[in-house]
């Protein structure tokens, strides 16, 4: 799965994109695993998008999906 990072998350990790060879899993589990693996302060208010659509905690991420962490937005 490809992981996209934006805003402060991108700066915390120093990359905008990661390629992970993880098993397919729920959004909830993915967020936990990600936080354990990478030095991210917190993901509590961060939404997840799968293939450019907002996902729920129980939605399944497949191995070839593009996952994006979406911090609270501030456009406009």
């Amino acid at each position: 799965m490809k992981v996209l990072l934006f805003a402060h998350l991108q700066e915390q990790l120093g990359v905008s994109e990661l390629e992970l060879n993880w098993e397919s899993q729920t959004v909830e589990s993915f967020k936990k695993s990600f936080q354990h693996t990478y030095p991210i302060a917190q993901l509590d208010n961060v939404m997840v998008a799968i293939n450019e659509a907002f996902a729920l905690e129980q939605d399944l991420i497949q191995k070839d999906d593009t996952v994006a962490f979406i911090p609270p937005v501030s456009g406009g």
């Binding site: 934006f6 915390q12 998008a49 450019e52 501030s74 456009g75 406009g76």
Partner: protein, 147 residues
Amino acid sequence: MSNDLFTIVEQPIAINELIDKVTRPEAGAITTFIGTVREWTKGKRTVFLQYQAYVPMAIKMFEQIGKEIDEIWPNTKVAISHRIGRLEISDVAVAIAVSSPHREAAYQANQYAIERIKQMVPIWKKEHWENGETWIGDQLEQISYQK
């Protein structure tokens, strides 16, 4: 500028071209909203801003807002353009044009569009203050994410 109704651009937004996109014979009203970079926010001075977007998803969300507007106010036409990259004070960050047969729908739909953008379109603003910088994490501008 492209003919697409929904765009993310790195150059200044051409507002007249945005208006042209919604201009049509059946319209009797066109409203525009122009969001600009504000210098002072609650006593803090902004030097410049940087906007970042998840571009393909942001475009999809703009399209969704367009569909929502069409359901609530049938026979309106909406065009939205958001700029990303470095913006200076008074630069145009976002412009929305809505046309409708009568003015009420154009006003209401335009306000609906900017509120929805602020809720759900994946675009982020980084404030560069005189004495530091922060990604803004919500639209009340009360929470920010430290580097």
